[in-house]
Symmetry: C2
Subunit: 307 residues, 2 copies
């Protein structure tokens, strides 16, 4: 039996414009590296994390809550040492808690001899993620666990599916150096909306799915608009309008806030345009002496993987 | 030059569950037959219609309003005699005014020597349809004019696209003999909705588009639910819940109200199940001595056509 396992759980972009609480896709390279080691006792012990200060009490850490949910489901009392290395900052709007929860559930399942299939781990990862966001939100967890572009049809019952993504789609992640708490960002969103705005939103949701299936970049670009989160949340993001305008002028086929922000994503149909955009966005933040992290990626077809 | 033209403009199912004001598909055989004959003067003269009593004043008839919009656009003063034969009752929720408006614009364009391409006729057909519904609604007009399953991404600007439909999808139209005025049915819909319900709606909109692309009948069935119109409008439709339950038990993969009702649609993945359903639904209405019209169709790939 395996005594130790190390996995990579990718970061992810949720909402993706019109798909509030509905769309999410995995990205490359950014994510969590989670290492689990079997213990002789029944403790879940969290070792100090790398790259971020994470809670050390098992009941307060999304990773151990996810593992505990899996152990309870299996009737197992296997103890584990849990080490998390974060390759990106929590509070970025890139699904930090979802990466930890997905990676932890995925790794624990391997350490336990793979009793469950990966999609069956979703509910356990969601239990962990719930600790961070206060309710079940699968739009980061599903892509982090399963990879690709995932869509949540329904939460009760949980019903998700994956849509194909055009090969040449490039994603530029832009993260100005401010922290946005998901809870605060959620609080900005009204509880009601007009049917007129809701209709616009689902017109765009339908268009985005169709655009992915048919690799129609023009339609994709027109569909990435948002009536519900962007108007309220962009105020939390320094230079949002300026950066968006620059990206669109430089050929981005879709730009919006990643999850709760402050990260933004800009989609491009070729790598070269994305690199040009990266250069100009850097200049925008240099002018105002602000730090910015940027990361160029494709949509990651893989979710959690043993490394 | 052509002196006379006769076209068939199909009826259509709008909303299709979650796609309120967004989805619509054309059906076979039911529709309008519109005959236009050139006149020597500049009059648009409406001849008495067959199959329904329609307004004889050009400014009150959706067909002539659509033709007038096209003539104005082209700067033409060509007069025409307009004859409409309706193969289904207006007020059925099958896009009666959309069939008339689409067919009229399509036929007039042919009589004028085809100065516009068919998709360019959409705005003129919409002008006609607006007379009936009070505002621009393309979810019946687009499928009637262009055929297939059409999606309205946006109304301002008008932006529509067509999704593929599985070959073996069968549609049973069920129309109990009551009339529902679109204006009254529209009045039942609240102006606001919770973000929670709106999110469910767009989760299902996305799922339906994906299901059409991937011919996933199970997902299609799960996605045909509606939070906005069905709960309010079903009260106008005799035996709605009973008919829906029967259809679902007999293997329908999706059931809902067609447009404003009272027509309902039931989707099936084979013709045999649809025919069995037809038989049992007939019995439901026989028990209560109510008339019912039923029509078995596939999604019509064609919109308006010269006949």
């Amino acid at each position: 039996m395996l005594e130790k396992v190390q996995v990579f759980a990718p970061a992810s972009v949720a909402n993706v414009g019109p798909g509030y609480d509905t769309f999410g896709f995995a990205i490359e390279e950014l994510g969590d590296i989670i290492t689990l080691t079997k213990r002789q006792d029944d403790m879940l012990k969290i070792l100090p994390a790398e790259g971020a200060d994470l809670p050390l009490e098992p009941e307060n850490n999304v990773a151990t809550v996810a593992i505990q949910s899996l152990l309870d489901h299996l009737g197992s009392e296997q103890g584990m040492d849990v080490h998390i290395k974060k390759l990106f900052k929590p509070g970025s709007g890139l699904g930090s808690s979802a990466s930890s929860a997905s990676g932890a559930a995925f790794a624990a399942n391997i350490l336990l001899g793979r009793p469950l299939k990966t999609p069956e781990l979703l509910i356990h990862a969601l239990e962990g993620e719930k600790l961070a966001s206060g309710s079940i939100h699968a739009d980061n967890v599903a892509p982090s666990l399963l990879g690709g572009f995932q869509v949540m049809r329904s939460y009760e019952p949980l019903d998700i599916f994956q849509v194909p993504t055009p090969d040449n789609l490039h994603v530029l992640i832009i993260r100005p150096d401010v922290e946005v708490k998901t809870s605060m960002a959620k609080g900005l969103i009204p509880k009601e909306m007009t049917v007129k705005n809701a209709r616009e939103q689902w017109g765009n949701v339908g268009a985005l799915i169709h655009a992915m299936h048919s690799a129609d970049f023009e339609l994709l670009g027109r569909s990435i608009t948002d009536r519900i989160a962007e108007p309220y949340r962009k105020q939390l993001i320094p230079q949002y309008d300026e950066v968006k305008e620059e990206a669109m002028q430089l050929g981005s086929v879709g730009f919006n806030i990643s999850g709760s922000g402050p990260s933004m994503f800009a989609l491009f149909k070729d790598e070269k345009s994305a690199r040009v955009c990266q250069k100009y966005v850097k200049e925008i933040y240099e002018k105002t002496n602000q730090e910015v992290m940027m990361h160029l990626s494709k949509i990651n077809p893989n979710g959690c993987q043993v490394i």
